[in-house]
């Protein structure tokens, strides 16, 4: 009976939540921008993690050598200019007089320290690509040398994992660096109430001027509905990832507006290609013909997405629409299953983490493959366990999405389909194909953009034929915000920058 009290509280709370909202807030002079997102950051050491909630905070604290604008074009940041000396060498000229949050000045030695540390980090080394040595030429000049030509180098340097750190701060903090980050970005770290709020304050020595809003708070509000309510009640100024069902509410609210934009991420349905029956390409294709992506887009994300036949978003360099577009065709799917030796279907499992959108996608997939006789049970696992289990290959099939953060096909395809990156580095389908390895390797080391485009087209065509995973849809990202917030834009990679935001009125 102890339990019934708990449930009663839960029911009362739910009723309470439904009841509030619509309350107006009359703010005086506002000096704090509150941003609500769905998870707390893991660590603010950019070399210790590569997950979105952390990167979204880190993006305010750090700057990189180069960055991208809204159209994904490379623009200067900490480096004012750069020059390719030969296919393997690039020389960067640093901006002078840039101050870290601890008062130190940015020097070439910090860049060398950062990139060397990045190459040594098992979590983000793959983002450093083929970087081999970093040489300090003088205080404001660094030379980056790669072991073989690396076409997407500049794009990789825009990643939050390539954020420039201060050598002194990192060495003096030791293991605690992730909780006391020091960067050169527009905001500096102030306080972290774990699981709840991360507070930042404006960096007075920021090279591009002091920010108009002196304080930023990242609030961790897990439930999507509650993020919308936080916006409505004035508790948050910006809320990331409004639930599909709440989008209309935000759009129609007199004080709020909704920003939407195509993201660099594709949601996909992956198969463990080392386990029967998914080691058989015909079974994978049968799955492709059993699934109706449009149904998933309409029902689960209320139309915010585009069905796709490529594993990378159309906004990513190297995208090609030439692969097979699977259309739902149960007849064909059954025929393929019969050819593969499973005329009556089979039993299998589907892994997903507890993200509500993914859980719903899982249920639609379950109902769709049931039509061709496949009895699929859904395993909803916690995020950490999901990543561990799928990297060890315990799963049969799984749902996940991949953000091509750098905007270049190499980052979107190499880790996912290369036989050298099985498991946690990205290839959770355990796909192994010599020709694919060769194509990816050549495309990454080529410096001719035309050649790279042609190679990535071949890659995408082959992937749709072999189907180690079925791309479902290109995701659309959104954020809700109060109308008095000016200067906020969605970054295609999802790490929205708060630089340049001000309040009006």
């Amino acid at each position: 009976m102890k339990y019934s009290a708990k449930t009663a509280i839960a029911v009362a709370l739910t009723a309470l939540l439904a009841g509030c909202g619509g309350q107006e807030e009359t703010a005086q002079v506002q000096d704090t921008l509150v941003v609500a997102q769905g998870s707390d950051a893991k660590t603010l050491d950019p070399h210790a993690t590569n997950d979105q909630p952390s990167s979204r905070v880190a993006a305010q604290i750090y700057s990189q050598l180069v960055t991208v604008d809204e159209t994904m074009k490379i623009v200067p940041d900490l480096a004012v200019s750069w020059e390719s000396v030969d296919a393997n060498t690039t020389v960067f000229k640093l901006r002078e007089g840039v101050k870290f949050h601890n008062g130190e000045e940015l020097k070439a030695s910090d860049v060398k320290f950062t990139l060397d540390r990045m190459v040594d980090s098992p979590t983000v080394a793959h983002i450093a690509g083929t970087i081999e040595t970093v040489d300090v030429i003088d205080d404001y000049t660094v030379k980056i040398t790669t072991s073989q030509p690396f076409g997407p180098l500049l794009y990789h340097l825009t990643h939050t994992a390539s954020s420039i750190l201060n050598e002194k701060a990192v060495t003096s903090s030791g293991d605690n660096y992730g909780q006391q980050p020091v960067g050169t970005g527009p905001y500096k770290f102030a306080d972290w109430a774990a699981g709840d709020t991360i507070s930042l304050t404006a960096h007075n020595d920021y090279y591009d001027g002091v920010q108009a809003v002196p304080n930023v708070k990242f609030r961790n509000i897990v439930e999507g509905t509650n993020r919308t309510i936080a916006l409505e009640t004035g508790e948050a100024d910006i809320a990331y990832d409004i639930e599909p069902i709440d989008k209309e509410t935000v759009k129609n609210h007199s004080n709020l507006q909704l920003l939407e934009g195509e993201a660099l991420s594709v949601a996909y349905y992956g198969f463990n290609t080392t386990k029967p029956p998914f080691d058989n390409v015909k079974v994978r294709q049968a799955m492709g013909y059993a699934i109706n992506s449009q149904d998933i887009i309409d029902a689960v994300v209320t139309g915010s997405g585009t069905a796709t036949n490529s594993s990378i978003s159309p906004r990513v360099f190297g995208y090609s629409p030439k692969g097979i577009q699977y259309q739902q065709d149960y007849e064909k799917a059954r025929q393929l299953l019969t050819e593969a030796g499973y005329p009556n279907g089979f039993k299998t499992t589907l892994w997903t983490n507890d993200n509500p959108v993914r859980v719903q996608i899982a249920q639609v997939l379950q109902a769709q493959v049931r039509e061709i006789g496949i009895d699929m049970s859904i395993e909803v696992v916690e995020w950490g366990a999901f990543l561990d289990g799928t990297s060890r290959g315990e799963h049969d099939t799984y749902i996940l999405s991949w953000v091509t953060v750098t905007g270049d096909a190499d980052y979107g395809l190499f880790p996912l389909f290369n036989s050298a990156t099985h498991g946690s580095a990205g290839n959770r389908s355990f796909y192994t194909n010599e020709k694919m390895d060769e194509l990816l390797e050549t495309a990454r080391s080529s410096v001719s953009q035309e050649e790279r485009l042609a190679l990535y087209e071949q890659v995408q065509v082959q992937l749709q034929e072999e189907l180690p995973h079925l791309p479902i849809y290109v995701q659309v990202q959104n954020a809700g915000m109060k109308k008095n917030v000016k200067g906020f834009q969605l970054a295609p990679a999802g790490h929205h920058k708060l630089k340049g935001i001000s309040f009006e009125g």
Binding site: M1, K2, Y3, T249, Q363, Q366, V380
Partner: protein
């Protein structure tokens, strides 16, 4: 009670004829008469009969394959209408049909987990109470350890470790409620152990097993029945709670708690998705509690002898 003393002195055949049959029926009849006068308990019983009826005839009311689990994405989140009495959920499935089929899981887990818990907990409690001493100490301290862990936490741990499915769910809920039955049974055994008719049975050389199961257990049954009726309510609530957090019944099978969880994010736009399963849980629990209370009132006079 004197009936039982003499019963043991008689040969087996005579015993069978004279004991329980007429006497017991009248005893239960008396309880029933008592219960019938309690309006609230009868109300609970009626509701409960409806739930059992729904569970038994679920397949006739709505077909599992074509109605209960078949998605109809163009009809999602429809409000209640003539076609869908309680509206449709986030996949366009008929909520009424799913609620009816959901009674099966709830009742099955509720009743079976309580039955398992009574069998194990009851035996442990009876043994501990009857023998006393060191054995009692060991058994009851182990039960205390179990009690120290919040029962829902214990259930979560068991389901997470063994995997989420119907059997494990039932075991988890059963295991976590064993200690409370052990305590109830032990308490009544303690009060019976030194009564004269037990002494008499022992004096004429009845074995321990015989004394426990023939004499003690039947007399200790009343509080267990009451606890059991209330326990079914708790078990149903635990099932719903575990399913709500994704550890219970797995989709697409309908279960009340899972239905609540699925509709949670639509609370502000489609109230019916959570309201009806919520009401189903509430009314069923209420019915069981009313019946349990009624049973306690009806059985209590027996305990006072």
């Amino acid at each position: 009670m004197s009936q039982q003393i003499t019963a043991d002195t008689l040969p087996e055949a005579v015993l069978e004829a004279t004991r329980s049959a007429p006497k017991k029926r009248s005893q239960w009849l008396e309880v029933w008469q008592h219960l019938k006068r309690n309006k609230m308990a009868m109300f609970g019983l009626v509701i409960l009969s409806l739930v059992v009826f729904a569970a038994v005839f679920a397949d006739l009311i709505a077909d599992y394959e074509t109605v209960v689990i078949a998605q109809n994405l163009s009809d999602r989140l429809q409000g209640p209408s003539a076609q869908y009495w309680m509206g449709t959920d986030e996949f366009g499935r008929d909520i009424f049909a799913r609620m009816i089929h959901g009674t099966r899981v709830s009742l099955m887990v509720g009743v079976l987990s309580v039955a398992i818990a009574i069998m194990i907990g009851g035996t442990l409690g009876a043994v501990a109470g009857y023998y006393g001493g060191r054995l009692d100490n060991i058994i009851m301290r182990v039960m205390d350890i179990f009690l120290a862990v919040p029962s829902i936490l214990l259930a979560i741990a068991i389901v997470s470790a063994l995997g989420a499915n119907l059997i494990n769910l039932m075991l988890a809920i059963a295991v976590s409620s064993i200690p409370s039955y052990a305590r109830v049974v032990r308490a009544s055994v303690l009060s019976l152990r030194d009564q004269e008719f037990i002494e008499a049975a022992r004096a004429i050389g009845a074995s321990d097993t015989r004394i426990i199961f023939r004499h003690i257990v039947p007399n200790a049954l009343a509080p267990v029945i009451v606890q059991g009726a209330l326990g079914v309510a708790t078990a149903i609530l635990s099932t719903a709670g575990l399913s709500f957090i994704g550890l219970g019944i797995q989709p697409p099978e309908p279960e009340w708690g899972a239905m609540l969880a699925g509709g949670r994010q639509y609370l502000r736009h489609a109230w019916h998705v959570t309201t009806f399963p919520g009401l189903a849980i509430m009314i069923t629990i209420l019915a069981l509690n009313l019946l349990g209370d009624g049973l306690r009132d009806a059985l209590d006079p027996r305990l006072k002898h």
